[in-house]
Symmetry: D3
Amino acid sequence: MKAINLERLSWKAVAAYLASDSRIILPVGSTEQHGRFAPLGTDTYVATAVAEGAAQTTGVLVAPPLWFGWSPHHLVKPGTISIRAEILVEVLSDAIGSLAEHGFKNFVVVNGHRIVNIPWMQIAAERVQRTLGVKVVLFDPAYMSKEVAGTLGFGPIGHGEEIEISHMCHCHPDLVRLDEAADNPHSETPLYHLDPQDPRDTLCYVPATREGLQQTFEHTGDTITGCPSKATAEKGRAYHDHLVGRLVQVLEMLKGD
Amino acid sequence: MKAINLERLSWKAVAAYLASDSRIILPVGSTEQHGRFAPLGTDTYVATAVAEGAAQTTGVLVAPPLWFGWSPHHLVKPGTISIRAEILVEVLSDAIGSLAEHGFKNFVVVNGHRIVNIPWMQIAAERVQRTLGVKVVLFDPAYMSKEVAGTLGFGPIGHGEEIEISHMCHCHPDLVRLDEAADNPHSETPLYHLDPQDPRDTLCYVPATREGLQQTFEHTGDTITGCPSKATAEKGRAYHDHLVGRLVQVLEMLKGD
Amino acid sequence: MKAINLERLSWKAVAAYLASDSRIILPVGSTEQHGRFAPLGTDTYVATAVAEGAAQTTGVLVAPPLWFGWSPHHLVKPGTISIRAEILVEVLSDAIGSLAEHGFKNFVVVNGHRIVNIPWMQIAAERVQRTLGVKVVLFDPAYMSKEVAGTLGFGPIGHGEEIEISHMCHCHPDLVRLDEAADNPHSETPLYHLDPQDPRDTLCYVPATREGLQQTFEHTGDTITGCPSKATAEKGRAYHDHLVGRLVQVLEMLKGD
Amino acid sequence: MKAINLERLSWKAVAAYLASDSRIILPVGSTEQHGRFAPLGTDTYVATAVAEGAAQTTGVLVAPPLWFGWSPHHLVKPGTISIRAEILVEVLSDAIGSLAEHGFKNFVVVNGHRIVNIPWMQIAAERVQRTLGVKVVLFDPAYMSKEVAGTLGFGPIGHGEEIEISHMCHCHPDLVRLDEAADNPHSETPLYHLDPQDPRDTLCYVPATREGLQQTFEHTGDTITGCPSKATAEKGRAYHDHLVGRLVQVLEMLKGD
Amino acid sequence: MKAINLERLSWKAVAAYLASDSRIILPVGSTEQHGRFAPLGTDTYVATAVAEGAAQTTGVLVAPPLWFGWSPHHLVKPGTISIRAEILVEVLSDAIGSLAEHGFKNFVVVNGHRIVNIPWMQIAAERVQRTLGVKVVLFDPAYMSKEVAGTLGFGPIGHGEEIEISHMCHCHPDLVRLDEAADNPHSETPLYHLDPQDPRDTLCYVPATREGLQQTFEHTGDTITGCPSKATAEKGRAYHDHLVGRLVQVLEMLKGD
Amino acid sequence: MKAINLERLSWKAVAAYLASDSRIILPVGSTEQHGRFAPLGTDTYVATAVAEGAAQTTGVLVAPPLWFGWSPHHLVKPGTISIRAEILVEVLSDAIGSLAEHGFKNFVVVNGHRIVNIPWMQIAAERVQRTLGVKVVLFDPAYMSKEVAGTLGFGPIGHGEEIEISHMCHCHPDLVRLDEAADNPHSETPLYHLDPQDPRDTLCYVPATREGLQQTFEHTGDTITGCPSKATAEKGRAYHDHLVGRLVQVLEMLKGD
């Protein structure tokens, strides 16, 4: 195993790394409800797993994860921790700014929280690129699996659905209780088709309201969307390997920068 | 012609409107370079045109446009005005908050600046939905024309490309100088396919850098991406009518709320 | 007609303009109630009219208007949109900062919202003058008509009074319904004489409260102060011409800077 | 002598005061250069003197002074302390908010720093009136002496001119060295006549630049505007008594609120 | 008496001072309840007294005091004025930043408000040291009297206890009414021993709640902790002289910087 | 092993927990240089170890760690990530605010970064106690080991000294390379004795400057203070057990709240 976790290294080891590499991966997740059958840390676990997978292959360092994302709607269920998006812009800007002072120049933010975390990441990424002259790429599983999701038989992206639950079944099977999962198949909302694979016209994403999630709970007994019962560790492995492969590709592209 | 522009009405007329309707459209654009052949106000013109088109059909009011968006990269060329994303979050929140005090409950933000304006709109929309109990939908031409763009023979979304230029040729032909346009056909960036119609895996959007746009200028003599020479008023009309039709649909959906 | 509106030009036209001129006019108004007989956009209409009048004479460019000002008290009546003063400081700073990057050096902010918008404009103007080395002048009709207001028989400045309504009767007669106007003659408040022509001691301006405007409504049936019934298009034209002439003078003074 | 200074009282004495009175005076000044002959604390000294003069007559309490104002341009000379206007908005809001919690309802802010401090005071005053239901009046010597300034033979308002120096000669003669003062008579700036008594059209106030003040210094050997040599303690006393009388009037008006 | 108060000097005198000295003392206190027997200004009085004592010995300048600190819990009793800690960070940063522009390089902040003011001072001090290259030391009586407090027979630090009341009896005997003081002897809170002399394990300081202070009031008739009845002017003088001596030492240490 | 990590539980498990317990531990550390022989994550590792130790005993839940603290001075060496103190105030406020919505009422923040993280924690703790009615205690190893540090033969608190290195030798021996450690014995700074056990007068803590740490590096070859060569796993275990015992005590005290 390579020493890939920044937090496990001394400054001397990081200095040695910087002599030949300026890339680093920042995993960002959330602590938010993922149904009664999956852990609150799901988004951070999957971001970290993908980041570490690619780091093992490439030797690129991984920063410690940010366990907190923007999850205002998921506060409907206990355990969820949500930080305001405008504060997360500042946290990510400071983290990248700190690392840029040391000579890191190429940053890949691996987002485990999908579309919800992306707005504040975009604002932070633009700022640091402009003011610090670094390169930031935002790597998100939902957008980086368009080519494979259909192949694996996944339905549309929801929350706690077969995609991320398969991923968890592969990475952290001990934390998932599939027997407690009840499906809540995706129902159509006219003109709102957020899955990036969906070819139809759509309004833009706005996080759900707690009232909306509360209604989901009242109708289904849980606060997820999708069919976790279809999750398997096997699909999760294929999905994970695809993502790791893509992240390796991205890191290779950044090598020459 | 119906009286649809909020700024042209008195408070008394608005009070009368609110007695039977709680919907309002907010057009938001930008003032940013769109190549040497198209006006700086392009994004605001198209947002306003779509908004007013649907307002004529439905009688829903249109607020005065916000002429300024988030355009840090387009500052590469003169005339561009960019407001920080974090400030725009507050402007939109205050505008919706003001209108909510009067009894408006259903807001459609029509965005003429495509993917760049969406992050801050998402943050503002979530905030006001949560704190004010209103409904906000984000209507963007790029996402609301996935079903028609291929039909019309448009290439991928760029900047100042045949899509928005066709739209301008339909709405404001006097402001476009197609004879001055030079095409800059979309070139592939590995793993970066932002067009929402593109079925391939992609990294997430981060605004370009000025350095990047400066390079485009040095290679092509302008700062656009795409093929404006393929723009026609006819395609623009079809595109516009599709968008107006979709916006009418959205407004109908909000009627009962 | 000269091409004076920034939003109608391409970046190339702006580049050509900057080769010989570094001046620009920024009209700022509001969207706020002006009585049951005048449009919510009154302040923006008059700022734009004065700006464009002087631009036609001098060829100086006019930026797109900011339709939103600081109007917390006018939220008492529907249609009013108020942005916090501290946010408007940032919006104006960013707008001027953007234009300064292109080489604009002399800015005239034309304020249609009178005394209410001035505090935040002063804070923004000082900041950009200090940090960007530009010159900003704040042009306000109420302060720039002290020499002519008496001549025209106008009473003291109020809200929706004969001064701005005459101005609107000249610029946008179709948007005013004088037959619906009821006068609310200025009543004296001891030691509070805000009209800059008034020679008496006075406390400083603080925006009214909504409670105060609500009382005005209950006593008079509307939320204005002054005598709109005395408004005429003729007085409005004389007033307008005076302001345009003054703005031309200001722009000439900035020519050599 | 009445016990009028909040800072000298215990909470018990304040509780007793609040049983019959809800008024309080807040003196706000600056620490900024006033020429080589007058102390940096001038603005705070005069604000405090007027406040305490009226407090002695009326028994109204005076809060401790805020010694720091918005003085970015006066940083040109040593000793000046300037706080950003946007921070002073928050300081004044918190101070009034604290006192409002105890039952104070009527606030008179006495400003010794004239036109420069007023913008941020207006923003704070509006905010606390709206959110806390209190009454705030802004009392400024320059605006509250329009009726008497001519009578006393004062020229236009400048900085360190005969008006405030006369005031200091009356209140703190030991801190003024008139023998070191050199006059810098007001020179006309076209269309910029800030003195509230001036009947001519004028642009709005924007604080000077340091470059401008540096030029004044290079031409005159000091950084003031006006004729301090005309200052006398006698005029200062008359001016002071006028202001105190006006402040007493204001406090009486607030008695019944 | 030396001329040691910045506010009493002209800029010319400050310029002369800066020719040979770059040190300045900033006294910061509070306006907060100190029991029914001591004045609201206690913290500012003691900070100023210590600052001026050392200034008389060393000739180092003293800036005007900041009369307002962070006192959220003391709002339980009337007269208290509390500014948010995050705002005070900005005020102190701006004050030091202003003085640094003139050439001041060594700052001693004398804090009369003890542990409550220290967090925001630390944040401001770090910021200006890092960004402006100045030196800031935070001088607090509670930490600077560890060696003498026991000798003088003082009990643990509380609020309005024998330590600061002795200090006031020495500095401002006319403002203390010892006959109205009732003791509230320190009661042990397990694992919470904030007095820096206490050798036991302790949790860190968090300001009390108003509810907690209200309970103190209901049990003891006042809102202090400690034994003011043990205060004497004599102990106060010894304590004061110790602090002044320490501050002189600190200023000497900064002389060579 | 008990299920004590919030991130490993589902919302349903947290809901069950909240039925009988309202306590939660939040470990906060840093990612900052700890010398060439110890890992960047040291502070987070020790905070987490203490938190989890006490959680195992009491069954109280532990939130995911915050890996980033306020470390501006440690940016002198690569790998350090520092977030501004004012941003960390908001992060902690939001995290506690989120958990408070679910019914958590008693929060213990376990700080592994010692005195540097405490100021912003104090500001956040006060805010949430006041606005949310919760109880927050700040648990810091340096203050919670005053009774045991001497017994174990530890010298004064520094950075990367025998105290935290012993702790790491106990918790994560694989991450420490004692053979690479060089001692930098504490040298006296007059009137600056931050160790809470030190009985002498002291100025208050302000984070070091990078220049200061750079000098340390140039003199000693590393950027620590203290004697890591004296570290042993055995002392580390005793120290750890003391801290865990104290945290258990604190949690017991909060049980009845």
